[in-house]
Subunit: 381 residues, 2 copies
């Protein structure tokens, strides 16, 4: 509805009414069969979404908790190669730095990574390599399959953050050789923030360190999940599991294939609309960069500050888009295509964007509707 | 309502309809003022409940996460004294063991701790001492004020788990000298599971180690909370904050004094009802043990197994009480007096207990209603 606030940030995403309603259910005992069934349903659905048979666990904690669970169970002092071309790559590197000797392979945010440099780093020996699949901060997708091959070649564990790709883009955990894949609930999975997950390969199990942080100890998750009735080692958030279970059912109803296609089309339409307004995408579009299918990063027009654009969109039209983070603050804005977004949501977003750019004299009056028209053209093709 | 399931376990507790309803609200941006206001309201309310001016943060994670946050920020290799007289004391010791050299001071579960032994251990030097205030596994309360004095005398940091006392019993963080007090949302605070909190004293800030687990790094929580607009360092569970904010409002409306008195009366009435049925409390009642005001641990009558009692109560009457944990499995059952319990809830619980004990020939037919009568007598006095 036009007067309802429209949250267009790359997570937490707006939740479907079915998911919201599920979370107002009364508490149950987290050691009962009813909880166990929910836990198993979520874990099975994640395996479906991520194309894996690997053991899968859901943690009560945000994506950073699962990122740390991945690293802290695999590394104690050994070398870790961390690929960094955005804010979340930095975060993964910083987390890895608390457990291992990190070699930070840095590329300009929004630029493609250089696989030759990755191979060079791995060839010198490393226990693990970390990468963010979909770098939300810069709107780029990193080459998971290729890095997976290099990790295998040099016998490094491949740890990948799929937090903003899982459920919205293709993730092939088994085929790509991802030893631990990390997800967060509040992005393309369409579930509430506060849950995250990991998948664990046999090779990862064989490489576990002793005494990782207690709350993140994956061996405890395994033991509890394999008990007579599966459970979590510590009290889970039952409420959030209600929401996640419903969200995962919706993914299965839609099918992951159709869901990925829908996200892809959303991103294509957003990019087309941005171009029609004369806006420039942030990522280097040299043919090597793969653009994200779940979030589009767009440069702020010259002379337009972050608040100049986002504040009136929110105040006048109720449309909250995302700004840039850290070094990209004041340089870009971001529009997601995540979860339950509709054509109407994105039309409303571009309508507000056009109006606001015109009022800022950053768009000609005559271009009003150019974005929306371009968007609709792709979206309905 | 008689046909609705009645969850009588010591957390997660049943949630008040106001709290449940709050959690079906649509997502907001966790970097917006609306979230910041909720975060501050929860932190202020926790300070009120815990009688402290210390910095207070809410973590997205269960109580074990906050227990580990407390230890991992204070200890790296140094000696820690851990008081153990129940399952959660063991857990605190096990967590401490991942970060420091633990001296485990063990007392029989449900027995009082020996302060002379605590003093002896501290007198040899320790960086920190851990204790569980209210040991839910055994139904006893430990002497926080006395241990706080000893910690101060020997200059050890006092880390206390108040997970099942906060909001249901008196906790005086500042007066008792608790350097880090840990709570969980899903017990007497009446909030949903998945959130936990810590309070941090000046002395604790002055004693922080470098590079604790990233997700639990309290310096990051401090920096984010003290930003121009307070926030959490990682994506919080907005949904759970909706629930917790409402739960904390309900505590302030009731006042903490009246709430503690209500919990205490509930526990007294439960104990009286148990005695009237000829049941024996689990904790040693030698005058030294202080019984818990939030959960009552009762011995199973001779010849009655855990499932013999609990399964028919749940199947026939919809009343789910708690069994014993670990070494107390099959030896005790537990009835909580936590959060929004009503007289009707407890009457229904004892009515079901009486019927079931009679059917198991563990109670004389003539004693039907003896528990309920004794309960009502105390409850309405």
């Amino acid at each position: 509805m036009a007067n309802e606030p429209l949250l267009m940030i790359p997570g937490p995403v707006m939740l479907h009414p079915r998911v919201l309603q599920a979370m107002s259910k009364q508490m149950i005992n987290h050691r009962d069969k009813a909880f166990s069934d929910m836990y198993d349903e979520c874990r099975n659905a994640l395996q479906y979404v991520l194309n894996t048979k690997n053991d899968t666990y859901v943690l009560t904690g945000s994506g950073s908790c699962a990122m740390e669970a991945a690293i802290s169970n695999l590394v104690k002092g050994e070398k870790v190669v961390s690929i960094v071309n955005g804010k979340f790559g930095e975060r993964f590197r910083d987390i890895a730095g608390r457990y291992g000797a990190v070699e930070s392979l840095e590329f300009e945010w929004g630029n493609p990574i250089d696989l030759a440099k990755v191979e060079d780093a791995l060839s010198k020996g490393a226990k693990a390599i970390t990468m963010v699949h979909n770098e939300t901060s810069a709107g780029v997708k990193n080459p998971a399959e290729e890095v997976g091959k290099l990790a295998k070649k040099y016998n490094a564990l491949f740890v990948m953050d799929c937090i903003t790709s899982a459920g919205g883009d293709l993730v092939e955990v088994d085929k790509w050789g991802i030893d631990i894949a990390v997800t967060g609930a509040q992005k393309c999975l369409g579930a509430p923030s506060g849950l995250s997950s990991v998948t664990v390969s046999k090779k990862a199990w064989d490489s576990m360190v002793k005494n990782p942080p207690y709350y993140m100890d994956l061996k405890k998750y395994k033991k509890s999940a394999e008990a007579e009735r599966s459970e979590t080692p510590y009290t889970p958030s039952v409420t959030l599991f209600y929401g996640m279970t419903e969200a995962m059912r919706m993914i299965k109803e839609e099918t992951i294939e159709k869901r990925i296609a829908r996200h892809r089309k959303g991103a294509e339409a957003i990019r087309s609309a941005a171009k029609a307004l004369g806006l420039e995408l942030y990522p280097v579009t040299d043919g090597k960069t793969v653009l994200s299918n779940t979030v589009t990063a767009i440069k702020l027009p010259a002379g337009v500050g972050d608040k100049d654009l986002r504040s009136p969109m929110k105040a006048n039209d109720g449309v909250a888009i995302a700004g840039g983070q850290d070094r990209l603050k004041g340089k870009i804005f971001r529009i997601p295509s995540m979860n339950a977004f509709t054509e109407a949501d994105l039309v409303r977003t571009f309508d507000s964007l056009e109006k606001t750019l015109i009022s800022l004299k950053a768009l000609d009056q005559g271009k009003k509707n150019a974005g929306v028209d371009a968007f609709r053209k792709v979206y309905n093709s």
